[in-house]
C-alpha cells in the first residue's frame, strides 16, 4: 500500500469519526424519535464501516472494538435499548476511545489489547441490558458449575456479567481461597488486584471451610480468557481449589453474542422505529430530570428525620425491641441514599472525555502542539458538575494556550521540546476533589502584572505585593496584561467570571507559576456527601471509620502497646500510636492490643508512610454514607460523619490522621 493510498484511507477514517461526533451531538440534543433513529442508524453504519476497514488492514483489536460499538448501536436501533443521557455518555466515551486509538495507529503505534478497556464495564452493563430473550431475560448464570446456594447468592448484576462473559466466549474460573483471619484484608486485596489485571472479577463469595475453621474462605469468580496463577502471587497454601465453573463452549449457539438475531438484518431503521421490541423483553431506561432525583433526595431526608425522631423516642423509652427494627430501617435507608447518590455521580473520566477533543482542537487551531495527559479519571464527581465545569475549564485551558504555552519556535529557542506539556489531574484530598491544570509554558509575567495592577489602581503606591497577591490579581474583574484582546483570550472579561463560576459551584481556584517554567491552576471542590468503604473501629468509646483503601493490615498483639512503642508488622518496624492520642484525647490507661496499619502516600517519599494505629476494638467492614461538616466545624482528621443507631461514626481522613499521629509522637518525644 502506497503512502498516498494510506493517507486516503486515514482520511476516510477521520471522516467517519467526524460524522460520528456530529451524530453523537445530535443524540444529545434531539428528542424526536425519528431524529434519534437516524443518528443511531448513521452511527451503526459508521462503526460497521470502521470495523470492516480495520479488519482489512489487519487491526484486529480495533475491529473487535468497532464491532462491539456496532452491536450496541444495533441493539438501540432494534429498540432493545432506549437512548438516554447515560447511554449516550457511554457511547460517546467508547467512540472517543476508538478515535484516540485510531490516532495512535496512524502514528504507527502498536495496538492495545482492548481499545474500550476504560468503558468495558459500562458497555458490559448495556450489553447485558440489551441482550434479552424475547420471553424474558437471558440468564446464563444457571450454567455455572456451582452449588445451588452459591449460584443463588449471585446478585442480579453479577448474573448479568456472567451472561455477558459467557456470550463473549470468556471462560469463568472459580478460585477457592483460605485466608488467615489477621491477614485476609491484605491478601484478598492483593489477589483481587492481580486478578483484575488478567480478567474481570465477577464476584467474591464467602464460603465455609469446615476442614479449616481457622481460615476465612472465599470463592472468587473471575472471567478471563486464561489465568496465570504465578502472576497472582498467592501466599503459600492459600489456593484450595481452582476449577472452570463457566464454560462458554457449552452456551447454546442461539444465545451466543455472535449468533444472528432473528430478523436482525431485515429491520430497516424506519421499520424498527414503527415496530419496537416486544414489551416483555424491553428494558425501560428512564430519562429523569435531575430535579426529580434532587426531589427524591429531599423526601428521603424527611424520612431520615422521622427515623431520627423515632430513634430518639425509642431511646427515651429504652425500647430495646425497636433497636433491630431501626437498624434494619437504617440499612434500607443507606441503600436508598447510595442508589440516589450513585445516580448523581459520574466518573471524572466522563468529564475528561468531554474536554479532550476540545483541547485537541484548540491545540490545532493555535498550532501549539501539546502532549496532553489526564490522570485520576476513576474518581467521581457530581454528574451535575460535569456539564457546568466544561466551560470554565476550557476558558482556563484557552488562557494557558494563549498566555502560557509558547509556539514551537519559541520553545525551541528556549531549549524546550517543541511539543508543550499539558497535564490535567484529579485527586481527592480528604473530602475535597481537586483538579490541577499544569503546563510547562512561560508562566505568568509577575512584573507585568504588577505594572498593570498599579496602572489600574489595584495596587497602592506603598504596597509591595507578594507573588501570591499578583497571581490572585489575574482573577480580579477587568484585569488583563494584554493591550489588545487576543483571538482566544486576553479580553480581561473571563478570568474573574471563571472564578465566580467556580465559587458559585462551591469551589475555589488558585493560581501559581514560575517564570519560563510553567504554571499550575488548582480548582478545589468540597464534596457534600460520599460513600465510604471503611473498617469500623472503636477507640475511647468513639466509633470511627477508617477508609479501607488505606488499611494495610489488622493485627492483634500478645501484649498491650503504648503510644511511641515500636512494633513489628510483616517484618517491618513501625511506630505505634493510639487513635485516641491522634485525636488529642487521653491515652488508653492500659494500652491497646489491636492495631490497624494505615498507609498513606507521602509528598516526598515514594514508599509512603505507615502508622500502626491502636484501637480498642474492630467492629466490621462496611459502606457508610458520609456527610460533610461545614468549614467552621471541621475536626482535624475527620472527613465527615455518618449517623448510626449507636450515635455517630466519624469517617477519618487517612492523610490527616497519619499527620496527627506524627504530631502526637513528636509531642511524646519533646514533652517526655
Amino acid at each position: 500500500m502506497t503512502d498516498q493510498n494510506l493517507d486516503e484511507i486515514w482520511a476516510e477514517w477521520e471522516d467517519l469519526f467526524s460524522q460520528a461526533r456530529v451524530q453523537i451531538e445530535a443524540l444529545k440534543t434531539s428528542k424526536a424519535p425519528h431524529q434519534v433513529q437516524q443518528a443511531i442508524a448513521s452511527l451503526f453504519r459508521a462503526t460497521h464501516t470502521l470495523k470492516g476497514m480495520a479488519g482489512m488492514m489487519g487491526y484486529s483489536a480495533f475491529a473487535r472494538g468497532a464491532h462491539r460499538m456496532e452491536d450496541l448501536f444495533d441493539l438501540i436501533r432494534k429498540g432493545k435499548l432506549r437512548s438516554t443521557d447515560s447511554l449516550v455518555e457511554t457511547l460517546e466515551a467508547g467512540l472517543l476511545a476508538l478515535e484516540a486509538g485510531f490516532r495512535d495507529l496512524r502514528k504507527g503505534r502498536p495496538e492495545p489489547d482492548d481499545y474500550l478497556f476504560k468503558v468495558r464495564k459500562q458497555l458490559g452493563e448495556l450489553e447485558a441490558l440489551g441482550r434479552l430473550g424475547s420471553e424474558g431475560r437471558v440468564d446464563l448464570s444457571h450454567m455455572l458449575d456451582l452449588p445451588e446456594p452459591q449460584r443463588k447468592a449471585l446478585a442480579e448484576e453479577e448474573r448479568a456479567r456472567v451472561t455477558v462473559a459467557l456470550q463473549d466466549e470468556i471462560p469463568i474460573h472459580g478460585l477457592e481461597l483460605g485466608l488467615a483471619f489477621d491477614l485476609f484484608d491484605e491478601h484478598l486485596r492483593r489477589v483481587t488486584s492481580a486478578m483484575n489485571v488478567q480478567g474481570e472479577i465477577i464476584s467474591t463469595l464467602p464460603v465455609d471451610l469446615p476442614d479449616a475453621p481457622e481460615l476465612l474462605g472465599f470463592l472468587i469468580l473471575v472471567a478471563a480468557k486464561s489465568l496465570d496463577l504465578a502472576a497472582l502471587d498467592l501466599p503459600g497454601g492459600t489456593l484450595r481449589s481452582l476449577k472452570l465453573v463457566g464454560d462458554p463452549t457449552r452456551v447454546p449457539r442461539a444465545l451466543q453474542a455472535s449468533a444472528p438475531a432473528p430478523q436482525a438484518e431485515s429491520i430497516a431503521p424506519a421499520a424498527a422505529e414503527e415496530a419496537p421490541g416486544p414489551v416483555g423483553a424491553e428494558v425501560e431506561i428512564l430519562r429523569l430530570p435531575a430535579a426529580t432525583v434532587v426531589g427524591l433526595e429531599a423526601e428521603l431526608e424527611e424520612v431520615i428525620q422521622l427515623r431520627d425522631e423515632l430513634a430518639n423516642w425509642a431511646r427515651r423509652r429504652e425500647a430495646e425491641e425497636a433497636v433491630p427494627l431501626l437498624a434494619a430501617m437504617e440499612a434500607r435507608l443507606l441503600g436508598l441514599q447510595q442508589t440516589l447518590l450513585q445516580m448523581r455521580m459520574a466518573k471524572v473520566e466522563t468529564f475528561f472525555q468531554r474536554l479532550e477533543p476540545m483541547i485537541k482542537a484548540l491545540s490545532r487551531e493555535l498550532a501549539k502542539p501539546v502532549k496532553l495527559t489526564f490522570t485520576g479519571g476513576d474518581l467521581e464527581l457530581e454528574r451535575a458538575l460535569v456539564g457546568k465545569l466544561v466551560e470554565p475549564f476550557i476558558h482556563l485551558i484557552r488562557n494557558a494556550f494563549d498566555h502560557g504555552l509558547e509556539s514551537p519556535e519559541e520553545r525551541r529557542g528556549q531549549g524546550k521540546s517543541e511539543q508543550g506539556m499539558l497535564r490535567i489531574s484529579a485527586t481527592q484530598k480528604g473530602r475535597v476533589l481537586r483538579f490541577d491544570i499544569r503546563d510547562d509554558g512561560r508562566g505568568f509575567d509577575l512584573a507585568r502584572i504588577e505594572e498593570k495592577g498599579r496602572a489600574l489602581g489595584l495596587i497602592r503606591d506603598e504596597e509591595s505585593p507578594t507573588p501570591e497577591r499578583l497571581h490572585r490579581m489575574v482573577f480580579e474583574a477587568g484585569f488583563t496584561t494584554r493591550d489588545e484582546a487576543g483571538a482566544i483570550s486576553g479580553r480581561g472579561v473571563g478570568m474573574d467570571a471563571v472564578r465566580e463560576e467556580i465559587e458559585g459551584l462551591g469551589g475555589e481556584v488558585h493560581l501559581s507559576s514560575e517564570w519560563k517554567r510553567g504554571s499550575l491552576i488548582r480548582l478545589s471542590f468540597p464534596m457534600a456527601k460520599a460513600i465510604l468503604a471503611c473498617l469500623k473501629v472503636r477507640a475511647g468509646g468513639v466509633l470511627y471509620g477508617i477508609p479501607l483503601t488505606s488499611v494495610v493490615r489488622v493485627q492483634t498483639q500478645p501484649k498491650a502497646l503504648r503510644g511511641g512503642e515500636r512494633v513489628t508488622v510483616l517484618g517491618r518496624e513501625l511506630t505505634f500510636e493510639s487513635l485516641q492520642a491522634c485525636m488529642g484525647r487521653p491515652d488508653p490507661p492500659n494500652g491497646q492490643r489491636t492495631l490497624v496499619v494505615v498507609a498513606v502516600q507521602a509528598a516526598s517519599a515514594a514508599s509512603g508512610v505507615e502508622l500502626a494505629l491502636g484501637v480498642d476494638s474492630i467492629l466490621e467492614r462496611g459502606e457508610v454514607l458520609l456527610r460533610g461538616l461545614p468549614e467552621h466545624a471541621q475536626p482535624a482528621g475527620v472527613l465527615g460523619v455518618n449517623f448510626t443507631e449507636g450515635g455517630v461514626l466519624w469517617g477519618l481522613d487517612p492523610d490527616a490522621l497519619v499527620g496527627l499521629g506524627m504530631e502526637s509522637l513528636v509531642k511524646r518525644v519533646t514533652h517526655g
Binding site: 431526608e301 424527611e302 431520615i304 428525620q305 431520627d308 430518639n312 431511646r315 468513639v542 470511627y544 485525636m583 488529642g584 484525647r585 456527610r627 461538616l629 461545614p630 468549614e631 467552621h632 466545624a633 471541621q634 475536626p635 482535624a636 482528621g637 475527620v638 465527615g640 460523619v641 449517623f643 450515635g647 455517630v648 466519624w650
Partner: protein, 140 residues
C-alpha cells in the same frame, strides 16, 4: 449580615440575646448532642438535623456554659445556637443602636446592641461568629 428588621429575642441562662430572624431557619429541641472526637474550641458537638450534622455552639467560652438550653436556633449558615427560652419576635425599626459594652465576653460574636423598652441587648452577628469559629479551628 441579613437585612431583616425582625429580631428574635431569646435567653441563654439569665442573659438575653437578639438574633436576626432572617438568619434563623427554624428553632428545634436540642436533643442528643454528640461531642466531637477531638476538641473544637467554641463548639459543643453536633446533632442530627434533617439527617445532616449540625454543629452546636458551646457557651462555655462566653461564661454561659452552665445554662440549661432545651432549644436550638438553627442558623441558615449551619450552626445551632442553644437557647434557654424564646421570648419574642419583634420589629426593631427605629430602635436605637448602641455600642458594645467594654469587657463583655459576648462581644466577639455581637455586631452591636439595640436599646428597646429601656434595655439594651446584644445582636448576634452571624458572620463574625462564623469567622471566629473558623479562625479558632485553624489555630488548633
Amino acid at each position: 449580615m441579613a437585612e431583616s428588621k425582625l429580631l428574635l429575642r431569646a435567653s441563654v441562662g439569665d442573659r438575653e440575646l437578639w438574633i436576626h430572624a432572617g438568619d434563623v431557619g427554624e428553632v428545634v429541641p436540642l436533643e442528643y448532642l454528640m461531642p466531637f472526637p477531638s476538641e473544637l474550641p467554641g463548639l459543643a458537638g453536633i446533632m442530627a438535623h434533617h439527617g445532616e450534622p449540625l454543629p452546636i455552639l458551646d457557651w462555655t467560652p462566653y461564661g454561659a456554659g452552665e445554662a440549661e438550653c432545651p432549644f436550638v436556633a438553627v442558623l441558615k449558615r449551619r450552626l445551632g445556637i442553644p437557647l434557654t427560652r424564646i421570648l419574642e419576635v419583634r420589629e426593631v425599626e427605629g430602635a436605637a443602636e448602641v455600642g458594645l459594652k467594654r469587657g463583655d465576653p459576648w462581644n466577639p460574636m455581637l455586631g452591636h446592641r439595640r436599646r428597646l423598652s429601656g434595655h439594651s441587648h446584644g445582636v448576634l452577628d452571624v458572620e463574625k461568629l462564623l469567622a471566629l469559629l473558623h479562625n479558632r479551628s485553624l489555630r488548633r
